[in-house]
Structure formats: C-alpha cells, structure tokens
Symmetry: C2
Subunit: 427 residues, 2 copies
C-alpha cells in the first residue's frame, strides 16, 4: 500500500491556506500592523477558537489538552496509537509578525485536512498541534506547550506566573487547559513516530539565495549571560581619567569582545542586544551597566567554551578598569540535531516538487528543539523577506508559503510510506 | 584706610556657618538622605525664605530680583554703586548633596554679615547672591539667574517652560520674580568690581592631596554631542555577522573612541555616561543607539577640535558597520579663565591663614563662568570627600568648610584693600 487516495496526487489547497493565515492575523493586530498575541491572552484564545472552528467545519476533530495545546486530527486523539506530529505555535511576541508560528500550524492543519479529504489510508495518526506559549511573551515559560507534550517540563518550582506575578492557572483554564492535569497532555515517546515543523527562516539566508526551501540540520543551542559591571557613578567633568571606574566603558569593551568571539569562529553568533546603564546621565559616569550576552552554537561543548570565554573576558576587562563584575547564566538551551532520515524525506519531497533546497541550521529556537528530545524531528524553512521577523514587516512571498506547505505534505507522505515506519524513522 | 574694623582681625563665625548649612539641608531632603531642591520648586522657595529670614534677623537687607535671585547686602541694593559680588546657588539636582551651591551662598552671606558686624568701612558694596536655577533640574534653563544678572540671557526663543511644558512665569512669580521685568535684574558691568565664588570641588583631586584650598585658574568649556546610530533591528540568533547593522556595536566603538580622545591628551576629559538602546532585548540586535558624548576642555579651540573628532569617528564607525549616523550639538559652553589678580588675592588669603593651596581647573560648570563674561572673577575650591558630588553622600570635613569661608573673607578684604580697586581688579 502506498499512502495515496483517490483523485491523483494529493495537494494542499493554497487558497484555503492563505485565507486562514490572513484571517488568523486579525487576532491581536496592532496599530503598527503587527501582531501582539501572547500565549494565554484574549487574542490567543480567539486565534485558538478560530482554528478549532475551521477544523470542525471540515469535519476534523479538535481538542485542547491540559497544557493549552490545540490538537487537530481525523478522530479523537488517542495517545496510545502511533502518531506523526506536525506543528508549531500560534502565540507571538509583542508587535511581532503574522507568520512566525502561525504558518506552521495552519500548514499542519492543512496537511491533516488534505489527508482526510483524500481518504488516504494510514496506519499512523497524523496530528496537527498548536503548541501553547512558545514565545513566552506574557507568561515567561517559553516552549511551555512542547515541554509538557514531550514530558520534559519537570517539576515546577512553584505556581507559574506572568511577568507581573499573575498566576498561570486561571489563564490556562480560560484557554481550556488544566494546570493540575498536565500529565494527561504528555505523549508517551513510543507512540510518537516523529515530529515535523514548517517555519519561516527568520533570517536573511534563503531570501538572499536561489533556494526556496531550507532543510534544518540543527537548531543551535543558546546561552544568555547577564553580566553586571559595577563602577562608581562620578561627575563626568571633575573626575580625572585615572580616578574613574566607568561601568559603561567596561560594557563597551565587552560588547566588542563578544562580537570578536563570533568573528574569530569560536561561536556561531554572539551578540549583545540589551544594555542598561545607571544613572544614564550625560554628566555622570556610569556606576552600573548590565549586559545580556547572547551566544548560539550547534555544538554544546563550543557553547560552553564560549560562555567561559565571556566570563573570562568580563573578568579581565573589569580588573583592568577597576570594576566589580558578576555573571549569571539566564538561559541555556541545548543544541538539537534534526533526524537524518527525516531530512532525506524533506529533501526528496522538495526535489519531487522541483524546489531547490539547502541544508542550514536554525539560529532561533523552536518547539522542534524540545520534541527532538523524544522523537526523530525535522524542520522545513521558507524565506523571510529581508530576513526580518518578530516585527510587523515580517513576510514571505505567497508562492514560498505554498511551496513550504507542499514540502510538508510531501515529507509527511514519504515518512508514512517509508518501509521501516513501524519502527520509527531513525536511519 | 584698610578695610579693618574694631576688635582685631575679622573672622567668620564657624558655628553659625555650619548651623545654617545644616538647617538649609532640611529643605528638599529625600528618603535617601540627599536633597531634591530644583530651582523654582516649593523646596527652593523654602530655602530662599530661610536665608532671607536669617539675614533680616541679622539686620541685613535681603531682596529678590526679577530673575528670582536672592540678594543680601548691608543696605538696599543699588546697581549704580560699585559692588563686589559673592555668590553661588541654592538649587540642587535630583537627590543631590547638601553643599553644592548652598556652601557658597551661606559663606557669602557670612562674609557680608561679618563685614557689617565689624562695621568695616568700605567704598564698595559687598553683595551676596543666591543665583536662581544654576542646575536646571526642573526648568532646563541652567545658569538662569547668573545669565540674567550678567545681562547675557539674550532674547528668549519663547516662554520658558519646564521639562513637562509647565511655564516658568508663574513659578518665577511665586519665588518673588517677574518674567516681564528681567532687565531690572541686570548688573551694569561698570558697577561690578568682581565676582567671587566658593564651592566644593566635586572631584577627587584636593581630597587625595595635601592641599585644602583649590585656586581655580579656568572653568573648562563643555560640549555635549548627541550621536544617533541607526542600524537594523534583527534576530540575534538568525542574522549572520555579515548581514548585521548592529547599532549597539557601533555605540561600543564610539564609547571607546571617546575615552581614547582624552587618554591621548586631545581633550581634558571625554566621557559617555548616557546610552539608550532600542529595542534593548537580548534576542534582538539593536536598531538604534543614542549616546551623549560629553567633552570638557579649558581651551575653546581644542574643544571644537574634539567635537570635530567625535563627529569624524562616529562617521567612520558608522560607515564601517553599515550604520546611519546623526550628530547634534546639545550643549556648548565656552571655557572661562579666572582673573589672575583675583587668583593672587585668593592665594594670599590662603597663605596668610597657613592653608596649603593648589591651582586647578574646574571640570564642572559654575555661575562663575557666566559672571566671568562681564567682570573679573575668581573661584575657591575645598575638598569633596571621596570626590563625590550630586549624590546624597556629598560631603566636606567641617574644618575644610571653615577654611574655605575664611579664604573667601580674606580674599574679599584683600580685593577691597587693593590700591587699584577703583578701576576693577584686572592685573
């Protein structure tokens, strides 16, 4: 049996896909034309309700699990049966774009719907998932939904709350979840055949090149160090150079040292995007500067080495300038390799569609990096116009949106047609 | 005739001086132990009223001019008679210290009072002035009172207002001034014999050395450039190094280049104390950075050259990193040389008191730099403990406070005893 139903090659309904994406972009729309739709917000609930309604009108099953994830399938979800999961997230950052996350969810639903409409007979469920709160814009528990689904959340240190201390439990309940029933949302790893996520690249690489499809080989790990440099606030006019302990001068040296780390090839990318200066007055030397140093690499050991190097350099800059220094690790997520077998199916799907593809890593984090902890996982990228994301200008050409969804459908069919499918898809 | 009255050498009343300073520090006292007493605030009016009351109890004359300056003399102020002016200001920055300004005013009043008590017969009035709004903390017209008194305010571009747009006129009226009568507050230069200001150093030099008295040779000029670096906000994880336009990286290079300017001796001091980053997120490269570059030098031409160098360096850094750049001059005050004759009288006064003194420049701005535009001017410094100022910890040892006031009295007597006093005190 090949997973092929009636009426020739199955194909996605491009008009439906684009319409749903456009309609979804109304929920959380900002004055600047962006989307503010944090996980567990009113706009987030509206977006969930819209897609659930779309699925039910198409005679698909939709349900919300205890974590607030929305699941779409041909029938009621049964976590004891083998399933291939396709997904992404519907939540956004503040004033973000219309495609980050939403594109992958709407495409996953489209694949489930096409398989149902074409009555393609499968011995494995295909479930589309909108993971809750990937971005963590309101409730800071980023990757919340995929962490719960993968059974990787661990025990909570206390009741989760948002940045202002409002508890998650009631917001989760409004979204249809249940903080006390999280274990019911866990997928037992043996029943998960794999996880596929389609996403915009969020960077400039595909947009600058001839390829329309990116095949992700790894999601880079990330470490964020908060570095506090403590100097002495003093009058900018009356304090001689040799009597200064200028925290901003130290910060400037560390910003440049961080860039050098990547420029010298010791870390894939290394950046400082956040710098807070106290008292931040033209007339007063800075008594305190706080930097967030963001490091990314696909190799865990290199990432750790880069963290150590930043700590060392912060220490030597501080010693040289007479500053105090304190480094704290704020974030550490491990690099996640994508499954080689799934990558071959994505490549085969793109090739069959005549789409040029390139292998690339993902510098941004995705639910896929969580799911890779329990199942063979793959990611498909499409170009981001101008390389921009998390801003109102975030966009992708319609042809590329359709191409990506077709590659997702094709890769799904190839995966399910794979002779060793009963044993998962590891090569 | 020598300016000497009955009862031996005149001397300041140290207990009275310190008591008035302590009592004055109650007006605008903050929870942190500092003083928030901006010009034309409620606390400022209380401070004025306190000193006016002190003067009148001592049978001195006190009045407020149209600019809100408080004047103290032996009799009603007559701007057509020759006068030696002694002064400073009573207003503070937000959460500033108890001595910056107040020390000079209380000491000037003390000198006027001692001369009156000792019936020292002078052919020149000695007037103590508390100049209004030197700091510009609430109403941004810094040096307001001395600019008006010196006749250097020029025509106002519009009705003066505070940072939130509230007009100065009613606040000035509450303080006893009159915006429509500013010309009445101008001192005709021919009648002003000189100006003397006693002040804490606000820097670490005297505190670190053996000398207790600083004789100021020049008040450095100041230029503040606002430099905007415009990059492109982009994802810190997905944007390759060669596709970045990182405004914070440019800012870091300019902070270091500014320091180098002073380290190489091209400018007395050069500092960046203010840096604002947008969007200021760990995950996003900065699309915009604004720096305030603060330059100080006692030589106007060198100061201008330093400004040009900062503009050039901002331009070349921006070009190298693919950034846009815009530089605007926010502040420019010219260096002011102190009068050589007055400096000799200060030195003579310190020597007669057995106080070691050193010549030094002032890196901070003072009303003296305005008054130097119309009359021979001198400044006396005393040590700031730890070199700190504009903070609650600002302090000076009582012995140093008394020594400074004695030098002010002595320099005043020497000035008025000077044979060429009828022709001013230029050497």
């Amino acid at each position: 049996m090949t997973p092929m139903g009636s009426g020739g090659e199955p194909d996605i309904d491009g008009e439906r896909l684009l319409r749903r994406l456009r309609e979804l972009s109304a929920f959380g729309r900002t004055a600047e034309g962006g989307i503010t739709r944090p996980g567990f917000s009113e706009a987030g609930r509206q977006a969930d309700a819209f897609l659930i309604d779309q699925a039910r009108r198409a005679n698909l099953h939709a349900e919300v699990d205890a974590a607030g994830n929305v699941l779409f399938g041909r029938a009621a979800i049964d976590r004891t049966r083998p399933a291939l999961l396709l997904g992404s997230h519907l939540d956004t950052v503040v004033n973000g774009g219309w495609l980050d996350g939403a594109y992958g969810v709407v495409s996953a639903l489209e694949v489930v719907q096409v398989l149902a409409e074409r009555h393609i007979d499968l011995d494995c469920d295909v479930v589309a998932i909108a993971f809750a709160n990937e971005e963590g814009a309101l409730f800071p528990q980023a990757f919340w939904g995929s962490m719960v689904a993968a059974g990787l959340l661990g025990s909570l240190p206390g009741p989760p709350a948002d940045h202002e201390g409002r508890p998650l439990a009631p917001a989760l309940a409004l979204a249809g979840g249940d903080l006390d029933a999280l274990p019911s949302a866990v997928w037992p790893p043996p029943s998960v055949r794999g996880y596929l996520e389609l996403h915009i690249e969020q960077g400039p690489i595909l947009d600058a090149g001839p390829e329309r499809i990116g095949i992700v080989d790894a999601i880079t790990g990330r470490a964020v160090l908060a570095v506090d440099l403590i100097g002495e606030a003093a009058h900018a006019g009356t304090t001689p150079l040799n009597a200064r302990a200028d925290a901003l001068l130290g910060a400037a040296h560390l910003v440049i040292a961080t860039r050098e780390l990547a420029a010298q090839g010791l870390c894939h990318v290394a950046s400082v995007g956040h710098l807070q200066v106290e008292p931040n007055s033209a007339n007063t030397l800075a008594g305190h500067a706080r930097l967030l140093v963001d490091l990314r690499d696909a190799d865990a050991a290199r990432l750790t080495k880069a963290e150590d190097t930043v700590r060392d350099q912060a220490g030597s800059i501080a010693a040289r300038l007479g500053l105090g220094v304190r480094c704290r690790r704020m974030v550490r997520s491990e690099p996640a390799a994508m499954d080689a077998g799934i990558r071959r199916h994505i490549a085969g799907s793109a090739a069959a569609l005549g789409l040029a593809a390139r292998v690339m890593s993902s510098g941004a984090g995705h639910d896929a990096q969580i799911m890779a902890g329990i199942t063979p996982t793959g990611m498909i990228f499409v170009p981001s116009i101008g390389g921009v994301s998390h801003v109102p200008q975030e966009d992708t050409a319609p042809a590329d949106l359709l191409a990506g969804a077709r590659v997702l459908l094709g890769a799904t069919l190839r995966l399910l047609a794979c002779p060793d499918r009963r044993n998962g898809y590891r090569p």
